[in-house]
Amino acid sequence: MATSFTVQRSTSGDITILALNGFLDAHTAPEFEKVIQEEFDAGRVRLIAECGELTYISSAGLGVFMSFIEDIRAAGGDLKICNLTPKVAQVFEILGFNSIFDMVPTVADAETCFAGPAREV
């Protein structure tokens, strides 16, 4: 059944990479929220969401990205999104998330973004 959602966490220097897997919906969004909250509370605000294995997202999942982005940027960090599948990318696009978020092909691209100048809040 299509209920499973997991986040695998790894680090690269002061960057945290969160690899999302499965179905991010109203049921599983709280798990994702908790993971981001933990990073934020630990002062780790340079985050990359690696979405290659994210097969589904609904607005509850998108809402997690949206609700944290200002606090993360205010703390000098960012949340970059990478490797979206076409199906999931379409949902981000329909809502115009590209006006708020950096969305890039690979984790390496996202790390390169972090090396550049900070994005305007």
Binding site: M1, A2, T3, F23, D25, A26, H27, A29, E33, Y56, S58, S59, A60, L62, G63, V64, M66, S67, F68, I69, E70, D71, K87, Q90, V91, I94, L95, G96, F97, S99, I100
Partner: protein
């Protein structure tokens, strides 16, 4: 495909745990309607959003309450009716803020109805307070 209407219905307890079952149901309906995968994905997401709203706003997560999805297929369209007997609301009074405003307010919600409208060809609410709240969404089939 026969020109006759075909109806498929699903009722599940009001819990976000059951959204996955609802999505499988919608995938089945989309296949029965002969829709392309990209359109099935849109239908799936729109229905997920609508049912998540019923679970979270109309009822709260009470497994004694039921979420009911009915799909009616004809030659030209898939019509989805989602009925709840929960508290109801006035869709016209929901503020439609833009993404930047929502982000600035640290909001995690407010995207569902917007998505439904973008994904489907028609979205109507019929709210009869205290009796029933019906959401009707239509996706036209490409020929």
């Amino acid at each position: 495909m026969a020109s006759i209407e075909r109806t498929f219905s699903l009722q599940v307890p009001s819990s976000t745990e059951n959204l996955a079952m609802i999505r499988e149901f919608v995938n089945g309906v989309g296949a029965r309607a002969g829709m392309a995968a990209a359109d099935v994905a849109k239908l799936e997401l729109a229905v997920d959003e609508a049912c998540a709203n019923v679970i979270e706003h109309a009822y709260g997560p009470e497994v004694t309450k039921e979420v009911s999805v009915r799909a009616t297929l004809d030659e030209d369209s898939v019509q989805i009716d989602i009925i709840d007997t929960g508290k109801g609301f006035d869709p016209t009074e929901i503020p439609q803020k833009n993404l930047e405003e929502l982000a600035a307010e640290r909001k995690s919600g407010g995207l569902g109805m917007r998505l439904m409208k973008k994904l489907m060809d028609e979205v109507h609410y019929e709210i009869i307070p205290g009796q029933k709240n019906e959401l009707r969404m239509i996706k036209r089939l490409k020929k």
